[in-house]
Symmetry: C2
Subunit: 218 residues, 2 copies
């Protein structure tokens, strides 16, 4: 599984804080780390718990984006040089942080902390990944403690170890077909229908017209 490329910004959302080595590696290696309001608090707690680990204690956000609701006045003051307030209520903190990265010129983003905690937020965040690809043409991946979500459009090929568990969620694509998956995919109507599949070689391919979301289990 690839680690974070140095030129890809990382957005830390306020779901479950990463504990698996893959998302943690991406967090530690982030050259440009954007926290939402809530995740700044989580990052600071995490740093306090790992005072003996330099690679963690030296972690600092490059920007903090949100509406300020979850930040103490002390933290707002301390991080005022990198704090960016988006007061509007139409979008959640994940989208505010995403728009901030787009305004900075990034076309690719790695996400952490999108799931866990409130189940409705997690579902919203997952569906937002597809929306970011569709509307912002952003290349995104979201790494959780269990696997990586990759929103896709059209034909895609993935490198993956044989036996990797994979799920495909259809977000309106037609003509879904697969190569090197244990069960051939089709035009799923339901979110659950494309789950629990498995890679049968060292790569697999999906052919489709439109948008879908791949989840690769670590």
């Amino acid at each position: 599984m690839e680690q974070n490329g140095s030129n890809i910004p990382v957005i830390l959302a306020n779901g479950d804080f990463p504990t698996h080595r893959i998302p943690l590696g991406i967090l530690k290696n982030a050259d440009y780390l954007v926290c939402t309001d809530g995740s700044l608090n989580a990052l600071l707690r995490f740093k306090k718990e790992h005072l003996s680990d330099l690679s963690i204690v030296e972690l600092e956000p490059s920007a903090v984006v949100g509406d300020g609701d979850s930040l103490s006045d002390e933290l707002k003051e301390k991080y005022s040089h990198i704090y960016v307030e988006y007061a509007e209520q139409d979008y959640n903190d994940l989208t505010k942080a995403t728009r901030f990265c787009i305004e900075k010129g990034y076309s690719e983003i790695n996400y952490l902390g999108i799931s866990g905690k409130r189940d409705d937020h997690a579902m919203a965040n997952v569906s937002l990944l597809v929306w970011y690809l569709k509307n912002f043409k952003l290349k995104v991946k979201a790494y959780t403690d269990h696997g990586v979500f990759i929103p896709c459009c059209g034909d895609c090929t993935f490198n993956a170890q044989k036996g990797t568990q994979v799920s495909i969620f259809n977000f309106g694509a037609k003509g879904l077909k697969s190569t090197n998956l244990k069960w051939d995919i089709y035009d799923f109507d339901e979110l659950w229908q494309g789950t629990l599949n498995e890679v049968t070689s060292d790569s697999f391919s999906i052919k489709a017209e439109g948008y879908y979301l791949v989840f690769l289990n670590y």
Copy 2:
């Protein structure tokens, strides 16, 4: 928030084991508890960790349903009197347990442990709730550590404390309208669009034609 009525079976799935008092209360008060393969292991671990709490140590499943993949031979032997094997691969353990309850004559089910752990399983389980209502005419609720998922069809009214956070996920409904929600709902296209709403009175109503899913945060 209501506790589990004694005549409603409880299915414990193998996501995060409940820790919040509401799902834990439902687990402890279950008169008819169905475990999946994996969740039986989790239940037995939980009992070991709470040897001083009689209400937990005396918890016993009424049935264990699955394909046997996750059960040791010792446990299969110990629970052979209540073990029901569904070998077919087309449906996951949640659906196997659900079909078992339907065959027992139940028309209502409370679910626990549907989220947490593998994110793709959680998404599948959430979408299955709507599918159970649509295809089996089952009245279901799924209690997580954060709130309750309630799949709905048509017009529904919910009792809820003013200020309760609520999310509505559209599963194909048309003509979505709300009363006593902070932001009026509409025919959402995306899963994230109906999230982060709030109840403005001691009840709220939704009018719709078709299926949608309500999440009420505790």
